[in-house]
Amino acid sequence: MTAPAPAPAPSALRQGVELARKDLVLELRAGEALRVTAPFGAVALLLIPLGVGSDVPLLRQLGPGMYWVIVLLFGVLVTLRQSAVEGPAQLAVLRLCGVHPGVRLAGRAVANAVLLLAFEAVLAPVVIILYDPELTGWPWLLPVFPLVAAGLALLGTLANALAQGMAQRTALGPLLVVPLTLPLLLGATQVPQAARYGSQPALWLLMIFTLDFAVAVAIGLVARHLEESA
């Protein structure tokens, strides 16, 4: 009747890293986010001037805003990519292997953030070439990229967890997340403007950071509850 001592559980950090690594490997093999969604985003950026008429000053003005709108809309698709779906059987295994649900969500969020950063990096040159936007104050954008990626990654993780196992997953997910990304969009577009007109871009950065932080805390707090809904 003496059960052998179970293997010591590895640290949460180690588990999170392992989970994120698995997500990235799967994504690499499927190549959905970078090899396909990113070009799709680029095509969208290309279509817009065709739809609205290609007037150079107008496009210069639209450029940055369009970039962020596309990053958000397609970024949501990246976070909801097919390769990030666990089937019921895989989910059962994860639930039974002693990983705290918060760690699982954190691993997913890290993988999402990495992919989104890459996605932003791919689209940035496209918008610069096609729209020739004004770039004064660009150093202020450097912190914006990771902050927006992190926020979107967190919100996408949450939506994915909420829509887990539903037939309407890919469609309900965006609906839940996109409206909440609004502050990200506003912050991202306002930072360079603020920098240009000498008002305080740091405040906008702070706002994005606060949102990221709030969502992260909220996810951490509710992770256990999300878990049990299988």
Partner: protein, 245 residues
Amino acid sequence: MTLFGRRLPIATALVTAIAIAAATLAPPDQLQGELQRLMYVHVPTAWVAYLSFAVTLAASVAWLWRRTPRFDRIAASSAEAGVFFTGLAIALGSVWGKPTWGVWWTWDPRVVTTAVMFFVYVGYLALRQATPDPLARARRSAVFGVVAFVQVPIVHMSVVWWRALHQPPTVLKPGAPTIDGRMLTALLISVLAFSLFYLVVLRARVRLAVRTEEVEAALAERDQEPAGNAVLAPQWEKKGLRADV
């Protein structure tokens, strides 16, 4: 369940009557004239929408903590009421916007964030609708009910963060309200009337939810047979199939 019983609708009717009287008696605005009286319906609907979503937040937290079905019902009912009042605030706002701003709709931050808030909670209701299992539904919507509330402070702060057309806060802000005393009184009475109306709606909706659940439970009780019951053994004899080869 009998929160103030019959007294609540009576009180609501009474306060509504007073509110209408106060709104008619309050002085017209110097700039906008009689049109400004729309404020007494527009502003309360917006605030009551906030109130509804706050109740959803509180009930969601309470559900996560206690797991009592009652909190789930309150959260859902209040979100429905909130979506209704948000829609009403938008509708009244655009009715007000047409004569003052010249358009039904503008890209004013408050107006847009309000619309987004509407969508966030429509998403909340869609999430509920898409989850048939009661426990999973309560759990998921409670989680989302907490997260969704971020949108409310964003709507409120939007006018401060982005200078724009829409009125900045005159009442709900630090410091004394910058508004005529009589107008403020009329507004506050109207807010009270709308809040009471919200309570009536919420109570009715929660009761309806209870009734629905009772009916469903009764149906389930009657149909206690496990799902697998209906599976029979194959009847190949019918078609002249032989099992022995």
